[in-house]
Amino acid sequence: MAEKNDHESSKKRPAFKKTGLSDLGKREERLALKLLLPALIIIVAIAFYPLVQVFYTSFTDRVFASGEETSFVGFDNYRRLLSVHITELEPVLDESSGEQLVDSDTGEKIFERPLDVLPREPRRYREYKQFDFFGKRYVIGATDTNFIDGVQNTLVFTVVSVLIELILGLAIALVVNSKFRFRGSMRAAMLVPWAVITVVSARMWEWMLAPSRIGMFNALLDRLGVIDSPIAFLASGSYQLSALIAVDVWKTTPFMALLLLAGLQTMPEDIFEAAEIDGAGKIRQFFAITLPLLKPAMAVALIFRTLDALRVFDIFQVMLGSSTYSMASYNYFQLINNRNMGLASAIGVIIFILIFVFAISYIKMLGADEE
């Protein structure tokens, strides 16, 4: 943060008395520009050039690994990904009584089938979700439900995993910040899960979550007598996301703890001593001193983790494959398996915009703290 303040003030000064800039000042300004140039060129080459290329490709129907001619298709790829249509489902009435029919097995009211109601031209809308609103039944249709699902999965994954990581990471950071024997080795050991390559740890967890007693979790649950038959964690929708969040929390909590620990170590001891003398308890100290002082470090940690989680790919790809997508693994599927490079680029652009929005709102929050 200190660096940023310097940067701000050094920029403000010349702007303040620009007219009176000496020769020396001008020379220095030119020198500064020259020094910045290499960095700018690298940024343009490695960040903006590919980005512009992805933007361009997203408006074409380019096929991956093929010599076929590509043509410009405008916003077609985006329309396919993002078109959503909400419509009301009429209740199905009994012809004689005029009452709504009820499913005799489940006791649920019967409505029209979304398949018959959703538009099919120019592109077919597939059923995404149904919901009730003021006693009426509505259906949300989307032209690419896989993508909308991917967005939803990614957002749920991001919010839940980052939140849990923040809480656990803070607790761990507080523990390893206090003085005890073997603190050094404890801090090192804590980092082990983070050091494991994600694909390797995903495979490892895949085995631990195996749908038979070969898997550690099923063996444990079986030993405890909690389950009758093994649970297929990675097969059914309800367990899939929770399993992935567990893997991610296991893996990246140490990283979170490390960043927060760095924040904790910059806090001067004497404030706590003063608080102690003034009679503030440990809990009061935590909420009144530690937490506010930790905010900047926390914000940095949150930015890193959130942006990282939004582009989650490896654990989705390794553990779930084509059965459930994240945004990035759907992008991979469209690019590699379907060879639809235009559409894949459009997905890339949408991920970019989402991450951009998150980044700017986080940085805004961080900036507001400093005023």
Binding site: Q53, S229, G321, N331, A344, A359
Partner: protein, 445 residues
């Protein structure tokens, strides 16, 4: 003012860097730089040919043996083997990255029977490198499959068809016959499972490939074809999937999940189901012929107590097996296409295929080898199941090229949704029919 600009720029940069490391649509980044000069430092005349090959079961070991044989017999040529992912979808992904970069790093590719149509532009015509002398020895149907616009893009290496593996000891113990229909199989699997569970709580009746991937397309096509339900899309381009017989058998298969097959079967690929079988924890298994040799290996719990038969029948009265199998193709980006073609033809030659058949029970594509005594001794079922291999059902890859991958994804995801109980087959196939119409533009029945 100044600050918000700075913020904006920083956020933009951050997002851009994040996006790039997610690897979105940026071909130049994906593939490692080829290193064509490296071998020349060692020996200026040494040519290195790299073969990208599978590693399922004993595949990799046998390919390495053949590579060594070729290297020994030909001075100045070294054949390297690159092992590739087990799942066909993942393997295709790796290959496409080489093609997009026009990389000369791999010279010979092992390609699936469903790929020649899609990938033809990246392979040389083997007829120009001497394949015309041997083409007639192979099964004509596979040669035809591998011929695109008159060019032979791959030399057949081994063929595959789904088989039913069963435990001879358990059928004897419970006085059951080898199941001939899916209903028989269901019944037998239930009886054996109930009996064995008393001692072995991990025992299951029937394991197969139910994960959402190409393997499920193969398994489900077998159910449907054996029940007279067509082949998803007929060879003349009509979508046939939405019919009563197909719906009936897929609903029946969904009933196996959690009863005679573990819940986790919907996450299993070939090697996952083989692991259950190998440990002696299953009475029946659907798998490819490669599992025959691996089931005989040391450490296998089923070594002397299993056999294979054709898959059970449904309404059609006879079982159906999906045609699988792999070909060797030579990359047009290879720096030594002539030597690479020679390596491919050597590996797929009479002797090369015989070696793989004897050592690893990989089905030859050369017809003569099905009369060879040594081959038949190693794999007696080659003789008895010859008809199965000859009559295997092809997936609709030719008629839907170059969109087969998308067709298959729609199909296996629809079946997977039925298997995991999210929907029923009637609804799933009604929607699948509309999806296929939109994708391929073909009419439906």
């Amino acid at each position: 003012m100044l600050k918000s600009k700075w913020l904006f720029g920083f956020a933009l940069l951050l997002a851009a860097i994040m996006l790039m490391s997610a690897g979105c649509g940026e071909p130049e980044e994906i593939v490692d730089e080829p290193e064509p000069d490296e071998p020349e430092i060692v020996d200026p005349d040494e040519v290195v040919i790299t073969v990208a090959a599978g590693a399922v079961g004993m595949e990799l070991e046998l390919t390495r043996d053949l590579a060594e044989m070729y290297s020994e017999a030909n001075d100045g040529v070294t054949v390297d083997v690159l092992d590739t992912p087990d799942m066909a979808d993942d393997r295709l992904g790796l290959y496409l990255q080489f093609f997009e970069a026009r990389s000369p790093e791999v010279d010979v590719y092992q390609i699936d029977v469903i790929w020649p149509g899609d990938l033809a532009e990246h392979f040389v015509d083997l007829y120009e490198y001497g394949a015309d002398a041997v083409a007639d020895d192979h099964f004509p149907a596979i040669i035809e499959n591998n011929t695109v616009d008159g060019r032979l893009v791959g030399i057949p290496w081994f063929t595959d068809a789904g088989l039913l593996y069963y435990r001879t000891d358990l059928l004897e113990k419970y006085e059951l016959d080898v199941p001939e229909t899916w209903d028989d199989l269901e019944e037998a699997a239930q009886i054996i499972q109930d009996g064995e569970r008393e001692e072995n709580p991990d025992f299951w009746g029937f394991v197969w490939q139910g994960n959402a991937y190409e393997g499920l397309t193969c398994d489900a096509l077998e159910w449907i074809a054996s029940n007279d339900g067509g082949e998803i899309i007929s060879p003349d381009g009509v979508i046939t999937i939405n019919n009563e017989n197909a719906i009936e058998i897929v609903d029946q298969a969904a009933g196996w999940v959690g009863t005679i097959s573990p819940e986790g079967v919907t996450t299993m690929a070939e090697e996952d189901s083989r692991a259950v079988w190998h440990a002696g924890n299953a009475a029946f298994m659907r798998n490819w012929p490669y599992a025959y040799a691996t089931s005989l290996e040391e450490g296998s719990a089923v070594a002397d107590v299993f056999d294979v038969s054709p898959l059970p029948a449904g309404r059609s009265g006879s079982g159906a097996a999906t045609l699988g199998g792999w070909q060797l193709a030579v990359s047009t980006y290879s720096e030594n296409p002539e030597i690479a073609a020679d390596v491919a033809l050597f590996m797929a030659s009479h002797d090369g295929q015989k070696y793989r058949a004897v050592e690893g029970t990989f089905n030859p594509t050369i017809m003569d080898l099905y009369d060879d005594d040594e081959v038949l001794e190693a794999a007696p079922f080659f003789d008895t199941l010859y008809d199965v291999f000859i009559n295997a059902v092809a997936r609709p890859s030719t008629v839907t090229a170059p969109q087969y991958a998308a067709v298959s994804e729609l199909f296996y995801n629809a079946v997977h949704d039925v298997l995991t109980g999210q929907t029923n087959a009637a609804d799933a196939f009604e929607i699948l029919e509309l999806d296929l119409e939109e994708l391929t533009g073909f009419p439906s029945e």
